[in-house]
C-alpha cells in the first residue's frame, strides 16, 4: 500500500492492547487479517481526527469512526477474515454479533461505567491517569455519561425505574449469553474452526476486558472464569496476536514494555504529570501569597504544558507492523 | 400653621366597614401645640394639590384614578379619611412597598387660606423580587423558586414566574396580570403552566401543560370570572400495579374549556367565619372550542354561618356537582369528582369514596356533600384574646355521596341514586387557623354510612385544607 491506513485507538492497559472494547474489536480484526495499519495508541480522544475513538483515517473514504464501518472498509480492502466462511456461517456471524451487542455489551458498560465502585476504583482511575491534564478532570465523567446513555437506550426507558431489578436481569442475561457462547465454541479453537473470523474479533473484544481487568466488583468475572474454554480462547488470542501485550502483570498504567517499546508513551506522561502537579501546586501557593487570584495562576499552567506536549507528540506515535 | 401627620394613622384596619374607629385615630393625631392653633375640624377646606414623592415607573393616570376622591373632600376629617382610603387603594395595587400621607396647608402664591396640600410619599417595589421556599409533602421534597416583576409597564401589571423543582416532579407557571386602571377588581390575567401531580388514591400521575386567560369583574355584590383554558393532559399509571381501569385512561388528551365562576361572599373571615354566607357557582363547558374532551360540568358550594350562644358559631354547608359528558366518549378520570378526606366528608380517607377498581378510586360524575358544624372557643378559653383565638373546637356531622349517573334515566332516578348509599360521619375536633388562607384540623371521627370499597379513617384524623366542608 502506498500510504497505510491510520488507526487511532485508546492506549493499552489492564493487560490488554487497548482498554476500549470497540477499539479492541477493530485492532483484533486488523491483526487477524494482517491489515497494514499505522496504529496510534493515544490517551487523548481529542487528538483523534474524528474526536472519538476508534477512528480510521482512510485514503478514499475519509475518516471512519464506527466499528462496523471500519471493519466493512477493511473487508473492502481485501482484508477479509470471513473469506473462508460459508453463507450460513456468515449469517451466524451477523446473528451472534447482534446477540453480543444486545446481551453482553450492556453488562460490559454497566460493569465498567455503571457500577459505582468499579467506575471509581478502576475505570476512572485508569482514564484519569492516562488522559493528559487538564482533560482528565472532566473527560472521564463525560465518557461515563455517554456510556450510561448508551446503556439506557439499549435497555429501554424503564432503566431508571428499578435499577436493582434491571441489574439482576442484565447479569442473568449476560451469564446466559456467556454460557451460550461457551456451548457454541465447544472445543474448537475459534468459532468457525481453526482460523479466526470477524465474530472472533467481536467475542474476544467483549470477553477480554471482563477477563483481564482487575475489577473490585467482578460478579460476571467469576462466571466467565468458570467457563474454561472461553478463558483459554481469550488467552490464546492474546498470546497469538498480541504477543508483547500478553502476560504483563497488569498494572493500571503498564510499565514500558519490551519489544519495540511501542507502548512506552505513558511514561513521559506520568513524569510530566508529576512535574505539572508540582508546578501547579507551586503556582497556586505563590498566587495565593500574592493574593493575585487563582484564575491567573491556572492560565499559566496550561501555557507551560503546551510546548511540552508538542515535543512529546513525536516520540509517542510509534508505528506498528 | 399646624401640620397634621397622617402617618400616625398607619395601624388602621384594612377593611372598610371597620373603619368607624375614628375616636382612636383622633388621639393619635399629633397636633403641634402652637399659639395660633385653629380648629380645622369643622372648617371647610379645599384640597389644592396632591403631590407624589418617589414615583419612578408608575404612570400618572393609574394614580389619578386612585386619588381623585381626595379632591372631593370638604373638611379636614374628610380629607384625612379620603387620603386614607386612597392610601389603602394604592397599597392594594401591589406596586408600592410603603405609602405615607402628609397633609399640610398650602404654600405658594396661589394658596387659598383654607387650601391643603396632600403629599403621598411612596416607595415603589423593586423591578424584580424573588423568593425561595422548600416544601415537603407526599413523600416528596421540592424547591420553589419565585420571581415577580411588579408594575412592569407602570400600570400595576404584574408578571410572576414560579418554578418548583422536586425530587419527583418539576412544575412551573408564568402569569401576567393586568387590572383596569381605577377598578382593581376588573382584571385580566394570562397564565402559562406545567403542573405535575401524583394521585396515589387513583394510582394516577397527571402532567398538565396549559394556557389560560381569565377575566374577573364584579357585578353588584357578586364577583364573576370568565375563563378559557387550553390544557394538554398526560395521564399515566403511578405504579405497575395500577388497575386496568386506570391504565385504560393513560395517554394524552387536549381539553379546551370555557368556564364561568360566580362568588358571593359576605363573610369577614374565610377560615373561621362568625357570620355571613358564601355562594360559589362554577360551570365549565369543554369541547366546543377545540380539543378532544367534551363535557359540561356544574359545581356549587353554599355556606351559612350564624353566631350562637356563648361565642359559638353554627355553620352549615352544602356542596354539589354534576358532570355530563357530551358525545359518545365517556368522561375522563381527570375530570370526574372525588369525595372524602379530612376536609370534606371526614372519617373517610382522601378521595376514597365511590366507584373504584382494584383499590384505585375512579371518581364519579355526580356528587353532593353536606356538613353541619358547631364551632366553640376552646374549653376554659386559654390564651383568650391572643394565641387561643386561633383555635376552635368543633362538633360536626358530615354526609355525602358520589356516584355515576345514567343520563338516560331522568332527574327522579338521579335523585334516588344520589340518595341511596349515603356516606355520613360525625365527630369532634380542634381547628387551627393558619393565617387567613388555610386551616388544620385534628378530629376524632366516627364514620357511619360506609359502603364496601370505601376506605375509612376510624378515629383520629388529621388534615389541612383551604377548602373545607
Amino acid at each position: 500500500m502506498a500510504a497505510p491506513m491510520e488507526l487511532y485507538c485508546w492506549a493499552s492497559g489492564w493487560g490488554l492492547p487497548t482498554v476500549d472494547p470497540d477499539c479492541l474489536t477493530v485492532l483484533t480484526y486488523a491483526r487477524f487479517t494482517g491489515a497494514p495499519l499505522k496504529v496510534h495508541k493515544i490517551t487523548n480522544p481529542w487528538r483523534s481526527p474524528s474526536g472519538t475513538l476508534p477512528a480510521l483515517r482512510t485514503k478514499d473514504e475519509g475518516i471512519l469512526s464506527d466499528t462496523h464501518q471500519i471493519i466493512t472498509h477493511l473487508r473492502k480492502q481485501k482484508f477479509n477474515a470471513d473469506y473462508d466462511l460459508s453463507a450460513r456461517q456468515g449469517a451466524d456471524t451477523l446473528a451472534f454479533v447482534s446477540l453480543l451487542q444486545k446481551k453482553l455489551l450492556p453488562v460490559l458498560i454497566h460493569t465498567f461505567w455503571g457500577d459505582a465502585k468499579n467506575y471509581v476504583e478502576h475505570t476512572r482511575k485508569w482514564y484519569a491517569e492516562a488522559i493528559p491534564f487538564p482533560l482528565n478532570f472532566f473527560l472521564p465523567s463525560r465518557m461515563q455519561k455517554q456510556q450510561l446513555e448508551r446503556l439506557q437506550v439499549v435497555c429501554g426507558e424503564n432503566y431508571l425505574d428499578s435499577e436493582e431489578e434491571l441489574e439482576k436481569e442484565l447479569y442473568r442475561e449476560a451469564c446466559e449469553c456467556l454460557t451460550l457462547l461457551s456451548q457454541r465454541l465447544g472445543r474448537q479453537k475459534f468459532f468457525f474452526g481453526d482460523s479466526p473470523a470477524s465474530l472472533d474479533a467481536f467475542v474476544f473484544s467483549h470477553l477480554a476486558p471482563l477477563l483481564k481487568a482487575k475489577l473490585p466488583n467482578g460478579k460476571l468475572q467469576h462466571h466467565l472464569k468458570s467457563l474454561q474454554n472461553l478463558c483459554n480462547y481469550c488467552t490464546a488470542i492474546l498470546s497469538l496476536y498480541f504477543p508483547w501485550d500478553e502476560g504483563d502483570p497488569p498494572p493500571v498504567v503498564p510499565k514500558a514494555a519490551a519489544g519495540d517499546g511501542s507502548e512506552s508513551e505513558e511514561e513521559p506522561y506520568k513524569r510530566r504529570n508529576q512535574i505539572l502537579s508540582v508546578l501547579v501546586g507551586l503556582a497556586a501557593m505563590v498566587g495565593y501569597a500574592f493574593l493575585s487570584g487563582i484564575i491567573s495562576v491556572q492560565r499559566q499552567a496550561p501555557s507551560q504544558l503546551r510546548p511540552r506536549a508538542i515535543t512529546l507528540e513525536e516520540e509517542e506515535e510509534e508505528e506498528e507492523e | 400653621m399646624g401640620t397634621v401627620h397622617a402617618r400616625s394613622l398607619e395601624p388602621l384596619p384594612v377593611s372598610g366597614p371597620d373603619f368607624g374607629a375614628l375616636g382612636e385615630e383622633a388621639e393619635l393625631i399629633e397636633v403641634e401645640p402652637e399659639a395660633k392653633q385653629e380648629i380645622l375640624e369643622n372648617k371647610n377646606v379645599v384640597v389644592q394639590h396632591v403631590h407624589f414623592d418617589g414615583l419612578e415607573r408608575t404612570k400618572d393616570d393609574i394614580i389619578m384614578y386612585e386619588i381623585c376622591d381626595v379632591f372631593k373632600a370638604k373638611n379636614l376629617i374628610d380629607v384625612m379619611r379620603k387620603s386614607h382610603e386612597a392610601r389603602e387603594k394604592l397599597l392594594r395595587l401591589g406596586i408600592f412597598r410603603q405609602v405615607e400621607v402628609l397633609i399640610d396647608t398650602c404654600q405658594g402664591d396661589d394658596a387659598l387660606p383654607n387650601g391643603l396640600d396632600v403629599t403621598f410619599e411612596v416607595m415603589e417595589l423593586r423591578r424584580l423580587t424573588g423568593s425561595y421556599n422548600t416544601m415537603v409533602g407526599n413523600n416528596e421534597g421540592s424547591m420553589v423558586l419565585g420571581l415577580k416583576l411588579p408594575n412592569i409597564f407602570g400600570r400595576a401589571e404584574k408578571v410572576t414566574f414560579q418554578f418548583s423543582y422536586g425530587t419527583k416532579e418539576t412544575s412551573y407557571g408564568l402569569s401576567f396580570f393586568k387590572p383596569q386602571p381605577g377598578h382593581f377588581e376588573r382584571n385580566v390575567s394570562l397564565n402559562l403552566y406545567k403542573v405535575t401531580g401524583q394521585f396515589p388514591w387513583s394510582s394516577l400521575r397527571e402532567t398538565d401543560r396549559g394556557i389560560s386567560t381569565e377575566i374577573n369583574f364584579p357585578i353588584l355584590k357578586t364577583n364573576h370570572a370568565l375563563k378559557w383554558e387550553g390544557v394538554w393532559r398526560e395521564l399515566g399509571c403511578l405504579a405497575r400495579t395500577a388497575s386496568f381501569s386506570v391504565r385504560e385512561e393513560s395517554g394524552h388528551s387536549l381539553k379546551s374549556s370555557v368556564s364561568h365562576a360566580m362568588v358571593v361572599d359576605s363573610r369577614k373571615s374565610s377560615i373561621l367565619p362568625r357570620q355571613g354566607a358564601l355562594l360559589k357557582i362554577n360551570q365549565e363547558l369543554a369541547g366546543y372550542t377545540g380539543g378532544n374532551v367534551s363535557f359540561l360540568k356544574e359545581d356549587f358550594e353554599v355556606q351559612l354561618n350564624r353566631p350562637f350562644l356563648w361565642d359559638s358559631v353554627f355553620s352549615a354547608s352544602l356542596w354539589g356537582g354534576m358532570l355530563v359528558p357530551i358525545g359518545d366518549k365517556p368522561s375522563s378520570i381527570a375530570d370526574r369528582f372525588y369525595l372524602g378526606g379530612p376536609t370534606s366528608v371526614r372519617g373517610f380517607n382522601m378521595y376514597s369514596i365511590g366507584p373504584q377498581s382494584e383499590g384505585d378510586y375512579l371518581g364519579g360524575e355526580a356528587y353532593w356533600a353536606g356538613g353541619l358544624h358547631l364551632y366553640t372557643p376552646l374549653p376554659f378559653r386559654p390564651g383568650h384574646g391572643g394565641f387561643g383565638d386561633l383555635f376552635r373546637t368543633h362538633f360536626f356531622l358530615n354526609a355525602g355521596n358520589l356516584c355515576n349517573l345514567n343520563y338516560g334515566e331522568g332527574p327522579k332516578a338521579h335523585l334516588r341514586k344520589l340518595a341511596e348509599c349515603i356516606r355520613w360521619s360525625y365527630g369532634a375536633g380542634i381547628v387551627l387557623r393558619l393565617g387567613n388562607i388555610a386551616r388544620l384540623e385534628l378530629n376524632y371521627c366516627i364514620p357511619m354510612g360506609v359502603q364496601s370499597g370505601d376506605r375509612i379513617c376510624d378515629g383520629i384524623q388529621f388534615g389541612a385544607g383551604i377548602r373545607f366542608l
Partner: protein, 269 residues
C-alpha cells in the same frame, strides 16, 4: 425491550391456565399504526396463534401509553399486563406453553442470536425509515401518529416521538447513516435469514418457534405496507424462500381471519 418487565413477569407469572378473555391491545389498525408497531403486533399475534392461545384483538388509540413499557403490543391476561414479544414469550412459558422446548442448547443460542439480529437490523431499519427519512416522516409517520389527537397536540406528540427516536438512533450510531446504508443493512439481514432458513419449512425444521413469529411479523409487514417507496420491500422480495415462508405462516395461522387486502400476500410476485 424492557428487561425490568421481563424480570417482573418471571416473578409473577402464575401457573393459572390461559383464560378465555385474554386480550391483545394494539394501536388503531387503519389510521394510526406505524410500520414498526405493526410488525411487533403481528409477531405477537403470530406467536400466540402458533401456541394456539386465543386472544381478542383490541384496538386503542392510546395503546402505547397503556403499555407498561411504553411499547406495543401488550396482552391483558387475568389481571396481568405484559408487553412486547420477549416478556410475552416468557409469560406464556410460565403458563406452560412453549415453542422452543424441543431445541437443544446450541439451537436455542442460535434462535436468540437470530432474534436479536431481527431486532437489531429490521426493527431499527423500520424505525429509521419511519422517523428519520424526511419524506416518509412528513407524508406518513406524522399524519398517522398524530391522527387520534386534535390540533396542535398531533404535531406536538409526533415531534416529541421523532425527537426521542432520533436521539436513540444517534446513541446506537444510526443517526448519521444514509438510507442506502440502512437498505444495505436490511439486505444483509435478509440474506442471513434466507441463508439460515434455506429450504426448511421453519427456521428450526418442521416446528415454528418464536423466531419464526418475529421474522414473519417484520417481513410480512414490510411486504404488505404501502410506503412512499417500495425499496424496502424490494429488498425482501429478492429472497424467494422468505416470501414463501411468510405465505406459509399466513396460510397456516391467519387463514380465515381478516380477508382484507393488507393480509393478502398473493398480490406479491
Amino acid at each position: 425491550m424492557s428487561l425490568a418487565a421481563e424480570a417482573f413477569v418471571t416473578q409473577i407469572a402464575a401457573a393459572e391456565p390461559w383464560p378465555g378473555n385474554a386480550a391483545l391491545y394494539q394501536p388503531l389498525k387503519e389510521e394510526q399504526i406505524l410500520l414498526s408497531d405493526n410488525a411487533a403486533c403481528l409477531a405477537v399475534q403470530a406467536f400466540l396463534q402458533m401456541c394456539s392461545l386465543p386472544v381478542q384483538l383490541v384496538h386503542r388509540a392510546n395503546a402505547e401509553y397503556m403499555s407498561p413499557s411504553g411499547k406495543v403490543p401488550f396482552i391483558h391476561v387475568g389481571n396481568q399486563v405484559v408487553s412486547e414479544l420477549g416478556p410475552i414469550v416468557q409469560f406464556v412459558k410460565a403458563k406452560g406453553h412453549s415453542l422452543s422446548d424441543g431445541l437443544d442448547e446450541v439451537q436455542k443460542a442460535e434462535m436468540k442470536a437470530y432474534m436479536e439480529l431481527v431486532n437489531n437490523k429490521l426493527l431499527t431499519a423500520e424505525l429509521y425509515l419511519q422517523w428519520c427519512d424526511d419524506a416518509t416522516v412528513q407524508e406518513i409517520t406524522h399524519p398517522r401518529y398524530g391522527s387520534p389527537y386534535p390540533w396542535p397536540l398531533n404535531h406536538i406528540l409526533a415531534y416529541q416521538k421523532q425527537w426521542e427516536v432520533r436521539r436513540k438512533m444517534k446513541a446506537i450510531g444510526w443517526g448519521c447513516k444514509s438510507f442506502d446504508q440502512v437498505l444495505e443493512d436490511v439486505d444483509q439481514c435478509c440474506q442471513a435469514l434466507s441463508q439460515r432458513l434455506g429450504t426448511q419449512l421453519y427456521f428450526f425444521n418442521k416446528k415454528p418457534t418464536e423466531l419464526d413469529a418475529l421474522v414473519f411479523g417484520h417481513l410480512f409487514t414490510i411486504l404488505t405496507t404501502q410506503l412512499i417507496s417500495d425499496e424496502l420491500s424490494e429488498k425482501v422480495k429478492s429472497y424467494s424462500n422468505l416470501i414463501s415462508f411468510c405465505r406459509r405462516i399466513e396460510q397456516h395461522y391467519f387463514e380465515g381471519r381478516a380477508k382484507d387486502a393488507t393480509f393478502r400476500l398473493s398480490l406479491i410476485s
